[in-house]
């Protein structure tokens, strides 16, 4: 699916751009140039809507993700987002709004993909907004892990108890769910002891997704 999307984007004139760690892909100063697709690497999107206030992490996205849609698709070139590369490097494809709309008009596969992507992002962000002060830490962690899967949902095999990997560091998870490393490690170790997840340098392997969801 990923390859199909990349091929389509290039057919419709998307330009490839490469960025190093720490580079800003777009910000409120540069504005949004089009719609972006992350071929490889990882980015974080922060929003600083209120002037002079600290930025808020909105999204952590990995390869195969579109971004800039919510700003640019509706015609907002200026935005209050800042998008930064957090992996060693990142390669993106940048497509103009007009060509993106052409692409959507002519390819159902792309329409379906975008609808599903927007739906899941909306679902996750509305979940985050609904977190009260007493929401369980475990729930926030599980919601974040699900969101961080490619296409923001666990693969099909997860539902039959087969393991799958999520590429995320502890630092990134801490940012995502606004917690300390200590609290996160305690909960992660808890889940490891229950043999529900495993952790290595690359990320987290969910060994038993149905069991993880029961804990929520």
């Amino acid at each position: 699916m990923k390859l199909e999307i990349e091929t389509l984007l290039r057919e419709y004139g998307a330009r490839e751009k490469k960025f190093d760690r720490g580079s800003v892909i777009y910000s409120s100063e540069s504005g949004v140039e089009g719609i972006y697709y992350l071929v490889s690497g990882k980015i974080r999107i922060d929003n600083s809507r209120v002037r002079d206030k600290k930025e808020v992490l909105i999204w952590l996205l990995g390869s195969g993700s579109f971004f800039g849609i919510s700003s640019y698709y509706n015609g907002y070139e200026a935005c209050s987002y800042i998008t930064t590369v957090i992996s060693e490097s990142a390669t993106i494809l940048l497509i103009s709004r007009e060509e993106f709309i052409h692409l959507l008009k002519e390819h159902k596969i792309m329409r379906d993909f975008i609808i599903s992507l927007l739906y899941r992002r909306l679902d996750y962000i509305e979940q985050r907004r609904s977190y009260g002060p007493r929401v369980s830490f475990r729930k926030k962690l599980i919601d974040a892990l699900v969101f961080l899967c490619p296409s923001h949902r666990p693969p099909e095999e997860a539902f039959t108890g087969k393991p799958f990997k999520i590429a995320v560091t502890l630092t990134e998870l801490c940012s995502m769910i606004s917690t300390t490393r200590k609290q996160l490690v305690t909960e992660i170790d808890n889940l490891i002891n229950k043999r529900i997840i495993e952790r290595d340098g690359d990320g987290i392997t969910v060994r038993n997704y149905p069991k993880l969801m029961e804990l929520e």
């Binding site: 929003n47 600083s48 809507r49 209120v50 002037r51 206030k53 600290k54 808020v56 909105i58 849609i69 919510s70 700003s71 698709y73 509706n74 907002y76 209050s80 709309i101 959507l104 008009k105 159902k108 329409r111 975008i114 609808i115 599903s116 927007l118 739906y119 992002r121 909306l122 679902d123 962000i125 509305e126 979940q127 985050r128 907004r129 609904s130 977190y131 009260g132 007493r134 929401v135 369980s136 729930k139």
Partner: protein, 236 residues
């Protein structure tokens, strides 16, 4: 749900503007309206529940509906308030998943029910409708992102002020020019702002004392919108 024969026009004659179906031609609206049902919901009646499976689409002809999720400890969190021409339940229908929120009429409302089959037929054949739907999703996503930031960054006073300004923008005011054309409880205003009911009451009372708003029962008048806009710290 009560089915009531009422004077709701066919889709091709509907005067509501701005909804996702406004891009359709008259013939396409006629197709959409085949198998359409018109329903009346009394204030407080639920249109659909979080967790149930969608079988069709709802379009508000006249009325106001709150969309809410059940948060932790069973606390209701209002996601948004929908009004005339807004569609409900389309997201879950598109992705064939259970509803992620509950829709409840907050005043007597007339709501059209559109067939899932007709909706998908039109989506397949009408690119503009499909793009409009994607645009609607993208707009809702942007709004939700901004609301998340506001909850994190803005003070309670700023958030309450922003909610009042948003209600004014979406629902307008009554003919007197100042009274919001929507009645919400203090709890509902607080839910939208991510604030407790007690704090909402206190903040509204402060704004009332300062002469920026005037509260008369559930009616809320915005007397000084420029000042309220300033307090809300809304970026233009």
């Amino acid at each position: 749900m009560k089915s009531v024969k009422m004077d709701i026009p066919n889709c091709e004659d509907c005067q509501n503007k701005g909804g996702v179906f406004s891009c359709l031609s008259k013939p396409d609206k006629t197709i959409l309206g085949e198998d359409k049902g018109n329903n009346f919901y009394k204030k407080g009646q639920v249109i659909f529940y979080e967790g149930n499976h969608p079988h069709g689409l709802y379009c508000i002809y006249n009325g106001k509906v709150k969309i809410s999720k059940l948060g932790d400890e069973g606390k209701e969190q209002i996601v948004r308030i929908s009004g005339n021409a807004d569609t409900l339940g389309y997201r879950s229908l598109l992705c064939n998943e259970p509803y992620k929120a509950t829709a409840t009429a907050i005043e007597d409302s007339y709501i059209c029910y559109l067939s899932k089959k007709k909706f998908f037929e039109l989506l397949e054949s009408n690119n503009t409708l499909c793009l409009n739907t994607i645009q609607l999703l993208a707009r809702e996503l942007r709004q939700s992102e901004q609301q998340l930031v506001d909850i994190t960054q803005k003070s309670v006073r700023e958030r309450i002020a922003e909610v009042l300004m948003q209600l004014k923008t979406k629902f307008g005011v009554k003919p007197d020019g100042v009274t919001l054309d929507i009645r919400l409880t203090r709890r509902e205003i607080g839910d939208m702002a991510g604030v407790t009911t007690e704090t909402t009451i206190r903040t509204l009372s402060d704004l009332n004392k300062e002469g920026i708003i005037h509260i008369s029962g559930k009616d809320l008048q915005i007397l000084r919108p420029d000042e309220l806009h300033r307090i809300a710290n809304i970026e233009d």
